[in-house]
């Protein structure tokens, strides 16, 4: 019986069936559930959370060099982190299959830009495969593994949010165990990236692309990876990925389709032949005109981006509207909704940290990627810069050098990031501060979990992805070992202690020391810490409607009827609001 699987669940199943045995990833939306689902096949597949995507790509590559089939997975921007090994793996090739899953995020649902990672396949000159539903997610992993081994290439397995997080029906198969064809043997010509070897590899890479192109024209069609669906000669559509589903729905009956699963290199003869059979050719793809630009460069007239646009997600209605000018009727109610942006949860340990720093207008906060990015939002409004994972310390470093050059002395910079981000790429930034004498205070917001992506283990949590106990790496000991002193460890929910730690760190910084702060309190959603919720309530007789409690930015507090009111379904009794109330109107209820 078919099962309803998300694309991510289907990729995991595909890895299992394809006999892949080593998998590594760093969590990142929309890719996270791939490794979470692979983890359930413990015993048959090794699955791990790596500290970052570059590590994940290298671990999987090492496994492929050793002859096993391997997969790594990452979100859209994760491939930027992993780009270094990804490119050179393209030159060196593999022994066992090497699949790099890139989960792109059109419309930026959970990402900091909208890059189209198919360009990476072209830049690295490796094969790119794009499934368009869950069944293909599963089936194409096995095809990708075969292509990787047959053509000695990494395969970029490119999916998007709507492929990853949409569920559709999948017919499951059995696992085929995969053993290396030959025993492992050292091969320095192939696996040492010395310049002399790299020079010799480039012609092999170009030859590989020619062979892959021919494969796309022929074998890929036989295997159903590339599909020709001839229905009529008036309109033809070339499409791939989720855009194919939208085009199938939007274009009229009688439209012919060339659906590509192998989108780099493009099958030139197949495209020419298809184009010759239709009067009008469209190319429908999300984001950039990746296929369209190449098809136009082949001298084939086609229409795509000029109508469809190169920004944001598509859907069938948008394709219909932009290609055929057909818009659905809609009705607009005469009341407008207020904005509802995401916010730090009630009881979030990060709230006390940001509230404390927000009280001093001379504090500059360089932030990072995680739940705590939400510290930028009103009313906390406590962040100046946030660019990428691990950038919290180092952007602050650059600002400190610029402020020094400009003679600015009254600003104090706090560079902050979470524990998982610290292990991801914060440690190198911390070394930078010590080595190049940065005038800033690094802060690790240590909540003992990878929060935003939905609670994944990391080197600080004490467990591996597959549930085995692991050493708990200490953030404070790592900072101390790098040369930070004093290192303040503080409960951010205790506002007076938090303020004292910040004040003492500033004093130490001004005396020429390298202080650091670790705010320590587990995310209350982490089950293993058995958080016992309680409740705060407002005494309306004492409330003077000053609205100071609203400044902590807690979703559980609002002003109703002129007085502060705490929503009993949301409050967990963290008392941060009670600590800021000047009139003692908020108190924690006795259980």
């Amino acid at each position: 019986m078919k099962q309803l699987l998300s694309g991510n669940e289907a990729i995991a199943r595909g890895a299992y069936e394809a006999g892949i045995s080593v998998c590594s990833a760093y969590p990142g939306t929309p890719s996270t559930e791939i490794l979470e689902n692979i983890a359930q096949y413990k015993g048959e597949m090794y699955a791990e959370w790596a500290p970052n995507e570059k590590v994940a790509a290298e671990v999987a590559y090492g496994a492929a060099v050793a002859g096993s089939r391997a997969l790594c997975a990452m979100k859209i921007v994760g491939l930027n982190v992993a780009a270094d090994p990804f490119f050179t793996a393209g030159y060196m090739g593999v022994k066992g299959a090497y699949i790099v899953v890139s989960a792109d995020d059109p419309s930026c649902h959970s990402s900091q830009n909208e890059q189209d990672n198919r360009h990476y396949a072209r830049a690295a000159k490796v094969a790119c495969i794009e499934p368009s539903d869950s069944q293909e997610c599963k089936d194409f992993v096995a095809l990708a593994a075969d292509i990787s081994e047959q053509f000695d290439t990494p395969v970029l397995f490119r999916v998007t949010t709507r492929v990853c997080h949409s569920k559709s029906l999948v017919e499951l198969g059995e696992r085929t165990e995969h053993a290396p064809a030959t025993p492992y043997a050292r091969d320095t010509r192939k696996y040492i990236c010395a310049p002399a070897n790299a020079y010799l590899n480039h012609p092999l890479v170009e030859e590989r692309l020619r062979k892959l192109t021919e494969y796309g024209n022929t074998t890929a069609v036989e295997l159903g990876l590339n599909k020709v669906e001839l229905a009529g000669s008036k309109i033809g559509v070339i499409s791939a990925g989720i855009a194919y589903q939208y085009a199938k729905e939007a274009f009229p009956e009688g439209t012919s389709f060339l659906k590509l699963g192998l989108t780099y290199p493009l099958p030139d003869k197949l495209i020419r032949e298809f184009a010759s059979k239709v009067e009008k050719l469209y190319v429908v793809e999300e984001l950039d005109g990746f296929m369209e630009d190449q098809i136009k460069a082949m001298g084939i007239p086609c229409t795509g981006k000029e109508l469809i646009g190169n920004m944001y997600e598509l859907n069938a209605q948008l394709v219909r509207e932009r290609v055929f000018g057909i818009k659905n009727p809609t009705k607009t109610p005469d009341a407008a909704p207020a904005k509802r942006p995401p916010a730090l949860c009630p009881g979030c340990p990060h709230r006390g940290f940001f509230y404390t720093l927000a009280q001093n207008k001379n504090y500059v906060v360089t932030g990072d990627i995680g739940c705590y990015t939400l510290g930028f939002a009103a009313p906390l409004s406590c962040m100046d810069v946030c660019i990428c994972m691990g950038g919290g310390f180092t952007t602050g470093m650059g600002m400190s050098k610029a402020f020094a050059a400009q003679g600015i002395t009254d600003k104090v910079i706090f560079g902050c990031m979470g524990d998982s981000t610290f292990f991801h790429s914060g440690i190198t930034g911390a070394a930078e501060i010590i080595y190049n004498n940065g005038r800033l205070i690094p802060v690790v917001l240590d909540n003992r979990i990878t929060g935003m992506t939905g609670h994944q283990e990391n080197p600080g949590t004490g467990f591996t992805l597959q549930g085995d106990p692991a050493p708990m790496l200490s953030v404070e000991n790592t900072l101390t070992a790098l040369g930070f002193a004093p290192v303040f460890v503080v409960d951010p929910q205790d506002l007076s202690a938090m303020k004292k730690a910040a004040d003492d760190a500033v004093t130490a910084l001004n005396s020429g020391a390298h202080p650091a702060i670790v705010t320590k309190r587990p995310c209350l959603l982490v089950k293993r810490y058995k958080f016992r919720p309680s409740m705060c309530s407002v005494d309306p007789d004492k409330c003077r409607s000053c609205k100071k409690c609203l400044k902590v930015g807690c979703p559980a507090i609002a002003i109703e009827g002129g007085k502060a009111r705490i929503d009993r379904t949301q409050c967990v009794g963290c008392t941060v609001c009670a600590q800021v109330c000047p009139f003692g109107a908020i108190s924690k209820e006795e259980n």
Partner: protein, 193 residues
């Protein structure tokens, strides 16, 4: 014309829209239909506005749809009904939980919570209103609010011949079957009122 039906479930991260879509898709698959469902994870889950789309029919292509394409809109929070109203067909049905949750901007007073979101929806669409929070509370478990709402919507799906009670029982956790069946029945009755 395609036989595909589309539903959009909207609410606030953490309200339990995922369980509703799980019950719905289980029943539809058992009825032999092609089903696709799409949801959003990550950043938006932290108390933000969230939506889930479910589509079914003989053959479904896109897992998501655009404006003016939903047959049914189900709002677990009433202001969210307004936000996603544009997805509803003009002759579509809105099923709204009479339940209000502040957003950060209405809590701080930066914006007003709309005075009568349900009234505004009623002027445009055929609308079913259920106080699912109160019904769930009266049954003794506020957390089964989502199943009350599923009960309220199931007869609007037009998917006849599915024994939804059986599907609910098979989808919710074993120890919570009784309370969820009660919640389902109460919601179904409330929608007929």
């Amino acid at each position: 014309m395609s036989d595909v039906k589309s539903v959009i479930l909207v609410g606030v991260g953490g309200q339990g829209a995922i369980l509703i879509s799980k019950i719905m898709t289980s029943g539809l698959i058992q009825a032999g239909l092609d089903v696709k469902q799409s949801e959003v994870h990550g950043m938006a889950q932290r108390g933000g506005s969230v939506s889930t789309q479910v589509r079914w029919g003989k053959k479904v292509y896109g897992p998501v749809f655009g404006e003016g394409e939903a047959d049914i809109l189900v709002a677990l929070e009433k202001m969210e009904a307004l936000r996603y109203a544009k997805f509803l067909k003009p002759d579509g049905v809105a099923i709204i939980n009479d339940y209000q949750m502040h957003s950060m901007s209405t809590a701080t007073g930066a914006e007003e919570y709309p005075a009568d979101p349900i009234g505004a929806m009623k002027k445009c669409f055929s609308t079913i209103v259920v106080d699912a929070a109160k019904i769930a509370m009266d049954l003794g478990n506020p957390r089964c609010m989502n199943v009350v709402l599923f009960g309220a919507m199931c007869d609007s799906l037009g998917a006849d011949g599915i024994d939804w009670e059986k599907v609910v029982a098979a989808t919710v956790p074993q120890k919570a079957v009784d309370i969820n069946i009660k919640a389902f029945r109460a919601g179904r009755e409330a929608a007929k009122a």
